[in-house]
Amino acid sequence: MKKLLLILCFFSYINISYAQEKLNKNKSVEFAVSGNCEMCKKRIEKAAYAVKGVKVAEWHINHKDIHIIYNEEKCTLDEIKIAIAKAGHDTDTIKAADEDYEKLHHCCLYRSEE
């Protein structure tokens, strides 16, 4: 069992180092971000742009998702998601804290609808 764990660790280590070697300066990703309106769009995109390394941030009101191009050498995907959540918007994996959510303008309160 110990051996197996060791092998697993070893593989995951290889995986990580492999990924690190291939850090993409123009990594393109899309993930869900909750929001309602044009005001949300400005807020979400501003929050994403505030993260150093984000080159392009476009939130789509209909799909409720964001298209991001970022430099993996400068930031991680989670940092971007945390920044968006901090602005009050839930992402697919990282949710906004209630206190941040409640700061939103009343028309932007996307949770109350559900």
């Binding site: 400005k42 501003k46 080159k55 941030a57 789509h60």
Partner: protein, 740 residues
């Protein structure tokens, strides 16, 4: 009826950059806006949905030009967006018909709200509001550009922006500078109106990317794009002032990547016409043949887009006395006559590459070669010129850290080979080989909310103008909802071709007196302010615009006509400025009816030898009003359109004619006058429309337009004192036939 839904949607696209926003509205056949329809670019995540008014906005993407519109219960519509036009598609429900009809509706003129520069786009719909036979006539329904008459012989029209004539405006064809140097004077007549897809007018200092020459503004025109052009187009035109035109366009799509269009234009004024019986032709007889071939290659997978344009023009004009026979009377005093022969060749190419995985980064390379030759005489005056120009521009577009900070950087190279022969009261041959090399950097900041700025600077090294820096700045701020505030400033520098630009003065007995060691350099600063407020009152959309622009010349070649025997040309000593103020109000009563009214005030003064005086032929006040109505488009494409423009031109200062005999003297100011143009268009189907129009319905004409018309070889003869129409009421008709 209930399930027989139609969706009508409308897209207006603004201007040319790769980051265009497309706007539109989706409605069903009852004109009810559809909320929640999906609008997206094929195979991308760039998408949006319509709001409760059916409106949407979507950013253009480099990846594809296929826009998909889908809504539950309706057939999904796929449209290729390649033009700056307004496209409307009718989308039929699955249950009713299988056919998808796409037709075009264009928004006529649109002011930009999100750009830092004061730019307005005139779409084809605007251009179809009047006869618009060529570019110089395309502005008759627009209040920003004033159209002036130059002389009573050549029939040439000159355009003005913020009080300054066209040499101070930079013209670009698809962002490549054109109509430069000797081409400036008649060049606008060599761009047929039917070839033009859209025109973008920028007031104030232009972009540094297009060079250092822009002083009062920039006019860019886009030619129809082969990839989106219709297979066949025919236009015929005839008017009671004896002008006939034909336009033929033919388009071929070789693959989804390669397409080509051929444009053929011919116009003629075959007959002599002298309605005001002054012994001079009202308009010159003439003919023009104008050919163009445009190629477009576009590959979305590799990110390459490229254009190649070839053009050829030959134009002949003959004006002057009705009795003039050019074979017998040329160079004699039997009769006064004038001929202008022009030949022109233009080759231009563009290639652009957008980087894979980096939609924000691209490289563009533009090249153009121009040749023009003009041979002409005006009575006993002769003027010949020829020009060879080479233009090359390399641009790299990218971002600094993110798309809020964009920049363009590049290099360009211009050669103008200018030859000129002038025979007036003296004979003079000149040859200039002007060369300049420049580098530019333009930074654009947009906070994706309510503020943006464009700051540009270029450094040029010119063999005659020296080494110099050209700065330009544009700032936009949205202080509150639906309002835009802009300021701009910039410097422009140019080489004045003062004879070519003022060759209408050769239609006179004036002596040319040119200051010794005159310097052709002109330098000016332009400062601008612009405010736009949009309001919605009930169903009416109101747009309110205020513009204030000031141009101050540091160096200028002054054209002094204050002595009626002479044209005095000398370098400016003292002040020269042009101040313009404009208030404009547009009301869209509903989707069919709109009214646009503008009041313009100009204060253009120059230090002449006689002191600081108002610029001649420049009215202090003008009023412009345009009314347009269009009926609802029926299913078979049947529609009525009605358009009418009223122009009131205030008093204009006229050159001093005190040393003429009393009967050849002009008042110091020309009286004010008003003119009305109108046009009715009837579309019989999507393929055929006929238009009938009239110009100068008030029938106002300038009395005794040509001074000493009866003795053209006397010292007093002068046909360059034109401030109003020479020709009275004029009617025209034409047809447009399209195969889609």
């Amino acid at each position: 009826m209930k399930n027989k839904f139609l969706v009508l949607f409308v897209i207006f696209m603004s201007s040319l950059s790769a980051q265009n926003i497309i706007k539109g509205q989706i409605l069903d056949n009852n004109k009810t806006p559809i909320e929640g329809a999906n609008v997206y670019w094929q195979n991308t995540s760039v998408s949006t949905i319509t709001d409760k008014n059916g409106n949407f906005k979507i950013e253009k993407t480099a990846k594809t030009n296929k826009l998909i519109i889908s809504y539950v219960g309706f057939k999904t519509l796929e449209i290729e967006i390649t033009t700056q036009e307004f496209i409307s598609g009718i989308l039929l429900n699955n249950q009713t018909l299988k056919e998808v009809v796409v037709e075009k509706i264009k928004k006529s003129t649109e002011y930009s709200k999100s750009k830092a520069t004061n730019i307005q786009t005139l779409g084809q719909k605007e251009l179809l509001k009047a006869a618009c036979c060529n570019l110089s006539e395309s502005f008759s329904t627009n209040p920003t550009i004033d159209v002036n008459f130059t002389d009573g012989v050549t029939g040439n029209k000159q355009i003005k922006m913020i009080g300054l004539t066209s040499p101070y405006i930079v013209f670009t064809e698809e962002n490549i500078p054109v109509l430069r140097g000797f081409e400036q004077n008649f060049g606008l007549n060599f761009v047929p109106g039917t070839w033009i897809e859209s025109i973008q007018i920028t007031k104030g200092a232009g972009s540094v990317i297009n060079g250092y020459e822009s002083i009062s503004g920039q006019i860019n025109y886009e030619i129809l794009k082969p990839i989106s052009d219709i297979p066949f187009f025919l236009n015929l035109y005839g008017s009671t002032d004896n002008r006939f035109e034909i336009n033929l366009h033919q388009n071929q799509k070789f693959s989804d990547k390669l397409s080509s269009s051929i444009f053929i234009h011919g116009n003629a004024r075959p007959m002599k016409m002298d309605k005001n019986t002054d012994g001079f032709l009202d308009n010159p007889m003439g003919k023009q043949i104008n050919l163009a071939n445009k190629w477009q290659y576009q590959n979305h997978e590799t990110g390459i887009i490229s254009f190649l344009t070839l053009k050829y023009v030959t134009d002949n004009k003959q004006g002057g006395q009705t009795s003039f026979n050019h074979e017998k009377d040329k160079g004699t005093t039997n009769a006064w006559g004038s001929e202008i022969d022009t030949e022109k060749i233009q080759i231009s190419s563009k290639i652009g590459y957008s980087f894979k995985d980096m939609p924000y980064q691209s490289i563009g390379f533009q090249n153009a070669y121009n040749y023009q030759k003009q041979d002409s005489y005006f009575g006993l005056n002769h003027y010949n010129n020829s020009q060879k120009s080479l233009y090359s521009n390399l641009i790299f577009n990218s971002i600094i850290s993110n798309t809020k900070n964009k920049f363009a950087v590049g290099l360009n190279f211009i050669v103008d080979n200018l030859k000129q022969h002038l025979k007036v009261n003296f004979t003079d041959d000149k040859y200039f080989n002007n060369q300049s090399t420049g580098a530019f950097f333009e930074y654009t900041y947009d906070n994706i909310d309510n503020f943006s700025l464009i700051a540009g600077v270029r450094v040029d090294s010119h063999n005659r103008l020296g080494n110099f820096i050209t700065p330009r700045l544009h700032v936009r701020y949205n202080p509150w909802n639906d309002a835009v505030l802009r300021v701009s400033t910039g410097r422009g520098k140019r080489w004045a071709n003062y004879i070519s630009e003022n060759q209408h003065l050769l239609n006179s007995s004036r002596n040319f007196i040119i200051e010794q060691h005159i310097n052709n350099t002109e330098i000016a600063w332009n400062y601008g302010f612009n405010f736009i407020q949009n309001l919605k009152i009930g169903t009416k959309n109101i747009e309110f615009i205020v513009d204030y622009y000031v141009t101050k010349f540091d160096k200028q070649v002054v054209i002094d006509l204050e002595n009626s025997r002479n044209v005095n040309l000398y370098n400016l000593k003292g002040k020269s400025f042009a101040t313009s103020f404009q208030i404009e109000c547009s009301v869209e009563f509903n989707r069919h009816t709109s009214l646009r009214t503008a009041y313009k005030y100009y204060d253009v003064q120059t230090n002449f030898k006689d002191g600081l005086l108002l610029k001649t032929f420049t009215p202090k006040t003008r009023i412009f009003s345009n009314f347009s109505y269009e009926s609802h488009i029926k299913n078979n494409g049947k529609q009525w359109k009605f358009d009418s423009t009223y122009n009131w031109t205030g008093k204009q200062r006229l050159p001093n004619t005190a040393n003429n005999p009393l009967y050849y003297q002009l008042n110091s100011y020309a009286e004010s006058f008003g003119t009305i143009n109108a046009q009715i268009t009837r579309s019989f189907s999507k393929n055929l429309e006929i238009y009938i129009g009239a110009e100068n319905l008030t029938n106002y004409t300038q009395k005794n337009a040509i001074i000493a018309a009866s003795e053209p070889f006397s010292d007093y003869f002068d046909s360059s004192m034109i401030y109003a129409p020479i020709f009275g009421k004029m009617f025209y008709t034409g047809l447009r036939f399209k195969i889609k």
